[in-house]
C-alpha cells in the first residue's frame, strides 16, 4: 500500500537527522498556527494562492526564494563549520550527513532559490515594462509557480521522510545509480528536478510569448528595456535547455526505477552521456541565472546615474550573443575525461569567446556611470560591488576554460570559489539590487536604506572572506566535497572561510531586518507617485502598487526610455476621460491543484506508491482539462470601477505635487 515507505523512513537514526526533521516540522506547524491565529487563511487563499495576477505570482516566487535562501544557507554554514574543525576527524558531521548537506545546498540554491528569485522578478516587472496588463498565459504562470513550490516541497519533506541524495547537485552516475545509491535520496533529487523543471520550461514559453506578442504599441524589439531583453534571452534558454535536464533526470530515473541501463557501468551504459546531457542544460543554466541580473544592473545603473544607458545596442547584441554561445561550451565541465586535444581546444576557445560580450557589458555599465550623476542607493552599491567582484570571477572563469589549467584545479575548491564568485556577486547581488529597486513598485513604500546598506556591506565582506580563501585552497590541492582532511595547512583558510560565512549570516539577518523595519515605518516611506527613483521605463508609469490591470489605458511607446520620454514631454501622468472595460482572468485554484498533484506524483514515484502516482497523473489531467475548457474563466472590470481607481490615483498624485495632465488635451 505504501510502497517502500515504512517506519524506517523516519529520521530516528541520528541526532542530526532528527534535528533537521524537528526544525522542518516545527517551522511548518508554526507557520500554519500563525496564519490560523491571524485568521488569514481565506485571505491567503483567495487573494494570493489562487491569484493569476502576475505581480502576486512574482511576489510569491520571491518569498519562496527567500525561504529557500535561508534553508540553503543553513546548509552552507553547517558545511563551513564542519570544514573549519574537520582536521584529522575533528568534525561534528558524519559523512552521510555532510554529503546530503552539500547536495541539498547546491540543489536548493540553484533550483529553489536562484530560479524562483529571478522568475519572481521577471514576473513582477516584465509585463509592466512592456506596457501590458498580463502575461500571455496567466494560468500556466500559476501552474509553473506551484510546480516549483512542489519541487521545493519534495526537497523539504526529504528531511522528515527518508533521506536526500548524497550525489552532489550534479547527481553524476554511476554513483547516483541504483547499484551504488539504493536509497530514496537520489529519487527525491530526480523528482524535485523533474517537477520544478516542467515549471521552468513553461515559464520560459510563457515569457517568450509575452515578450514577442504583448508589447505596448510602438515598442519595437530594439526599444525594449534591457531587463526585458535579458528576460527574453533567459526565457529562450529556459525553454530550450530545461528539456535536456528533464531527459537526463528522466533517464536516470528509468535506470533506477525500471532497471534500465542508460548510465550504468555495465550492459552498455555510459555515465559520460549523463554528463553531456546534464551540462547541455547546465551551462545555459548559469546564464539563465545571470542574464536577468545583468538586466537589473542595466536598469539600476541608468536610473541611478540619471543617464541613458550607454551602448544600448552593444548590450542587446552582447546579451543575445551570450545566450547563443552558452549552448556551445558545455564540454568544459569535463575537460578531464580524456578527450582529445582537438576537442578540448575547441571547447576551451569557445568558452573564452563568451568572455568578450561579458566584458563589453561591464564597460557599457561603466560608461553609463561616466558623465552621469551617480546616487549610491543600495541597489547601486550592489551594482558597483558586482562589477569589481565579478571581474575576479570572470578571470578565474577564463582560467578554468584553459584545459591544462583546468586539469590542475578541476574538482578543487578553486572551482567552488569560482562559481560562487559568479553566483553571489553576479546573480544574487543582482536579485538583491532588484528587490531594493522594485520593492516600492510592488508594495507601495520604499525600503529602509540604512538596512539596505547593511545587507550590502555584510554580504560583500562575507563573500570575500568566505570565498577568496577557497581560491588559495584550490591551489593547495584541496578537493571539493571533502568531509574531513589531514593537511594542517588547509585549516587557517577554512577558518577564515567560516568567519566569512558568519558575516553572510548577519547579511541574511539584515535582509529580513530591512523588511521588518521598512514595514514598520511604511507610512514614512510611502511611494505616492509610483515613480520613486525618477525612473526611465514603463513600470514606473503605474501606481505603486499597480492596479490589477497595470495600465488603465495602454501607453504608446516611441523611445527606448519610454517613461522618461513621457516625462520630458509632460505626458507622464495622463488623466483620461474615457475608459474601456478590461477583461482579466478570474482567480483559480487549478494552479495550486496542479502543484499538489505534481507533488503527489513525485512523492509517490520516490516511494514506489504506484496507486498514488496514478492518482497524481489522473488529477493533473483532470485539472488541466477542466480549467482549459472552462467558458467563463475571465472577469470584466467595468469602466466605472476603473474610473474610480484612477481618480483615486490622481488624487494621490496631486497630493504628491505631481501635475496631472488632462489626457483629452494631449
Amino acid at each position: 500500500m505504501l510502497g517502500k515507505l515504512t517506519f524506517d523512513a523516519l529520521p530516528f537514526y541520528s541526532w542530526v537527522a532528527m534535528g533537521g526533521a524537528a526544525i522542518t516540522v516545527l517551522a511548518v506547524v508554526l507557520a500554519i498556527l500563525a496564519v490560523t491565529w491571524l485568521g488569514k487563511w481565506r485571505y491567503l487563499w483567495s487573494e494570493w494562492f489562487t491569484s493569476l495576477d502576475h505581480k502576486r505570482i512574482g511576489v510569491m516566487y520571491i518569498i519562496l526564494a527567500l525561504i529557500m535562501l535561508v534553508r540553503g544557507f543553513i546548509d552552507a554554514i553547517m558545511m563551513r563549520a564542519q570544514q573549519a574543525i574537520a582536521l584529522n576527524e575533528g568534525g561534528y558531521l558524519p559523512p552521510e550527513h555532510f554529503e546530503q548537506i552539500f547536495t541539498s545546498h547546491g540543489t536548493i540554491m540553484i533550483f529553489f532559490m536562484a530560479m524562483p528569485f529571478l522568475t519572481g522578478l521577471i514576473n513582477v516587472i516584465v509585463p509592466q515594462q512592456l506596457g501590458t496588463r498580463d502575461v500571455a498565459f496567466p494560468f500556466m504562470n500559476s501552474a509553473s509557480l506551484w510546480l516549483t513550490a512542489a519541487g521545493a516541497g519534495l526537497v523539504g519533506i526529504s528531511l522528515v521522510l527518508g533521506r536526500f541524495s548524497t550525489a552532489g547537485w550534479t547527481g553524476y552516475p554511476p554513483y547516483s545509480g541504483i547499484d551504488y545509491s539504493p536509497g530514496v535520496g537520489v529519487d527525491y533529487w530526480i523528482w524535485a528536478l523533474l517537477v520544478s523543471g516542467v515549471g521552468s520550461t513553461l515559464t520560459g514559453i510563457n515569457f517568450i510569448t509575452t515578450i514577442l506578442r504583448c508589447r505596448a504599441p510602438g515598442m519595437e524589439l530594439m526599444k525594449m528595456p534591457l531587463f526585458v531583453w535579458t528576460a527574453f534571452c533567459t526565457s529562450i534558454l529556459m525553454a530550450f535547455a530545461f528539456p535536456a535536464l528533464t531527459v537526463a533526470a528522466g533517464l536516470l530515473g528509468l535506470d533506477r526505477t525500471l532497471g534500465m541501463h542508460f548510465f550504468t557501468n555495465d550492459l552498455g551504459g555510459n555515465m559520460m552521456n549523463f554528463a553531456n546531457l546534464l551540462w547541455i542544460w547546465g551551462h545555459p543554466e548559469v546564464y539563465i541565472l545571470i542574464l536577468p541580473a545583468f538586466g537589473i544592473y542595466s536598469e539600476v545603473t541608468a536610473t541611478f546615474s540619471k543617464k541613458r544607458l550607454f551602448g544600448y545596442r552593444s548590450l542587446v547584441y552582447a546579451t543575445a550573443a551570450i545566450a547563443l554561445l552558452s549552448f556551445t561550451v558545455w564540454l568544459h565541465h569535463f575537460f578531464t575525461m580524456g578527450s582529445s586535444p582537438n576537442i578540448n581546444a575547441v571547447f576551451g576557445v569557445a568558452t573564452m569567446i563568451i568572455a568578450v560580450p561579458t566584458g563589453v557589458k561591464i564597460f557599457d555599465w561603466l560608461f553609463t556611470m561616466i558623465r552621469g550623476r551617480i546616487v549610491f542607493h543600495p541597489s547601486m552599491l550592489f551594482t558597483i560591488g558586482f562589477i569589481v567582484t565579478f571581474v575576479i570571477g570572470g578571470i578565474t572563469g577564463v582560467l578554468l576554460a584553459i584545459p591544462p589549467v583546468d586539469y590542475l584545479v578541476h574538482n578543487t575548491t578553486f572551482l567552488v570559489a569560482h562559481f560562487h564568485n559568479m553566483l553571489i556577486p553576479g546573480a544574487l547581488f543582482g536579485y538583491f539590487a532588484g528587490v531594493q529597486y522594485w520593492f516600492p513598485k510592488a508594495f507601495g513604500f520604499k525600503l529602509n536604506q540604512f538596512w539596505g546598506k547593511m545587507v550590502f556591506c555584510f554580504w560583500i565582506v562575507g563573500f570575500y572572506l568566505a570565498f577568496m580563501p577557497l581560491y588559495a585552497l584550490g591551489l593547495l590541492g584541496m578537493p571539493r566535497r571533502l568531509e574531513q582532511y589531514t593537511e594542517p595547512d588547509w585549516q587557517p583558510f577554512l577558518i577564515v572561510a567560516a568567519i566569512g560565512a558568519s558575516f553572510v549570516l548577519v547579511g541574511i539577518f539584515s535582509v529580513f531586518m530591512q523588511f521588518y523595519i521598512s514595514i514598520r515605518e511604511r507610512n514614512l516611506n510611502r511611494d505616492l507617485t509610483g515613480d520613486p527613483w525618477d525612473g526611465r521605463t514603463l513600470e514606473w508609469a503605474t501606481s505603486s502598487p499597480p492596479a490589477p490591470y497595470n495600465f488603465a489605458v495602454i501607453p504608446e511607446v516611441n523611445d527606448i526610455d519610454a517613461f522618461w520620454a513621457m516625462k520630458q514631454k509632460g505626458k507622464a501622468f495622463l488623466c483620461h476621460q474615457h475608459y474601456d472595460p478590461i477583461i482579466m482572468p478570474k482567480n483559480t485554484s487549478a494552479g495550486v491543484l496542479v502543484g499538489l498533484f505534481g507533488f503527489l506524483l513525485g512523492f509517490a514515484c520516490v516511494w514506489h506508491i504506484w496507486w498514488l502516482a496514478l492518482a497524481g497523473v489522473f488529477g493533473l489531467v483532470v485539472v488541466i482539462t477542466v480549467r482549459s475548457s472552462q467558458e467563463h474563466s475571465d472577469k470584466v472590470i467595468t469602466a466605472q470601477e476603473i474610473r474610480e481607481t484612477e481618480q483615486k490615483r490622481q488624487a494621490v498624485l496631486l497630493s504628491a505635487d505631481k501635475t496631472v495632465n488632462n489626457g483629452s488635451l494631449v
Partner: protein, 297 residues
C-alpha cells in the same frame, strides 16, 4: 556620498588582507605553485601567463570604476551629460579590448592544450615507466605490468623515467591526480584513460581522488615516491618479498569497500588483470566475474 567611499575603501582593505593572508600562511606547501615536475610546471607557467594578461583588464576596470564613482557622484555635479549614450570610439575600444585579450589567450589555449595533452608520451617507449591504475572503494590499486607486482595505495617509480599511467575504475567515476606532478584525469569503469607524468628528482608527493565517490572519499589518497634507481630496486625487492599473490580470488576480496586501506604489497599479479577488470563492464575479452556493487551512500 560618504558611505560609498567607505565601502570602496573597505573592499580594498579586504583585498589587501586576503593577499597578506595568502603570502603569510603556508602557500609554500602548494603543489601547484611549487611544482615538482615538468608537467605541472608548464601548466603553472600557463596559469601565470593567463593571469598576467588578464590583469590588464582587471586593473583598468578597477581604476575606471572607482574613478567614475568618485568623479561622477551626484553630490559633486560634475560634467553631467545625460544624453551621452553612444560613441563609436568607445564602442570600438570596449569590443576590441576583450577581443584582443581573448585572442591572445585563445592562441595560448590551442598551443598548450596540444603540448600538455595528458595522453602524449614524455619519452620513447623504451624509457617510459608503465603503471596501471585501478580506482576502487576507496583506495587505489597500482599494477606494475613490467615488474609483475602490484601495490595498494602506494605509487613508487624511478625518478629518471617518465611515468606512463593507464587508468580505469572498478567502481564509480573517480578522478586521479598527483598535483605536484601534473593535472588530473577521470577514471571510469569499462574505459581506459592515460596520464603521463614526470618528476624532476626523487621526492614524496600526495596523490588522491578529487571526484566525490562516497563515504570513504576523504581518505582516498595515496603516497607517491619518486626514487633514485637504487632506492627503487630496493623498494621492488621489498614488494617481491611480500609473498602474496593478487589472483582473481584475492582481487575479488580486495574490492569490497573500505576506508583508509593500509599499503599492501603483492609480489605477483594475475596476468592481464587490468584488461580483465575493464572487460567486466564491456563484456569483451575475458572478464572477471562481476560482483554485486556496494552501497556507497
Amino acid at each position: 556620498m560618504k558611505s560609498a567611499g567607505v565601502i570602496c575603501l573597505s573592499k580594498w582593505l579586504i583585498n589587501i588582507l586576503t593577499i597578506a593572508l595568502l603570502t603569510s600562511c603556508s602557500m609554500q606547501s602548494s603543489p601547484i605553485l611549487f611544482p615538482k615536475g615538468p608537467v605541472t610546471e608548464t601548466e603553472r607557467e600557463l596559469l601565470f601567463l593567463a593571469v598576467l594578461i588578464m590583469l590588464s583588464v582587471l586593473v583598468p576596470v578597477y581604476l575606471l570604476t572607482f574613478w567614475a564613482c568618485w568623479r561622477y557622484r551626484a553630490s559633486k555635479n560634475n560634467c553631467y551629460r545625460p544624453q551621452w549614450h553612444k560613441d563609436w570610439r568607445v564602442e570600438l575600444f570596449i569590443w576590441a579590448g576583450p577581443v584582443i585579450i581573448i585572442g591572445i589567450i585563445g592562441y595560448l589555449v590551442v598551443v598548450y592544450t596540444y603540448r600538455l595533452d595528458p595522453y602524449r608520451s614524455l619519452d620513447n617507449r623504451a624509457n617510459i615507466f608503465r603503471v596501471q591504475v585501478v580506482a576502487q572503494n576507496w583506495k587505489w590499486l597500482f599494477i606494475y605490468p613490467d615488474q609483475g607486482v602490484s601495490v595498494v595505495n602506494e605509487l613508487a617509480f624511478p625518478s629518471h623515467r617518465p611515468l606512463s599511467l593507464e587508468i580505469t575504475s572498478d567502481t564509480v567515476l573517480t578522478s586521479f591526480m598527483i598535483p605536484a606532478l601534473g593535472g588530473q584525469i577521470y577514471a571510469m569503469a569499462g574505459m581506459k584513460t592515460r596520464l603521463n607524468l614526470e618528476s624532476y628528482k626523487p621526492g614524496h608527493f600526495i596523490g588522491r581522488n578529487t571526484q566525490f565517490s562516497g563515504r570513504g572519499f576523504p581518505k582516498m589518497a595515496f603516497d607517491v615516491y619518486a626514487m633514485s634507481p637504487a632506492d627503487f630496486s630496493q623498494w621492488l625487492e621489498k614488494v617481491k618479498g611480500a609473498k602474496k599473490v593478487l589472483d582473481v580470488q584475492q582481487y575479488q576480496q580486495l574490492i569490497s569497500s573500505e576506508k583508509g586501506h593500509p599499503v599492501e604489497y603483492f609480489s605477483a599479479v594475475e596476468p592481464e588483470l587490468f584488461n580483465r577488470i575493464i572487460a567486466k563492464y564491456t563484456g569483451k575479452g575475458r572478464p572477471l566475474p562481476l560482483l554485486k556493487p556496494d552501497n556507497l551512500e
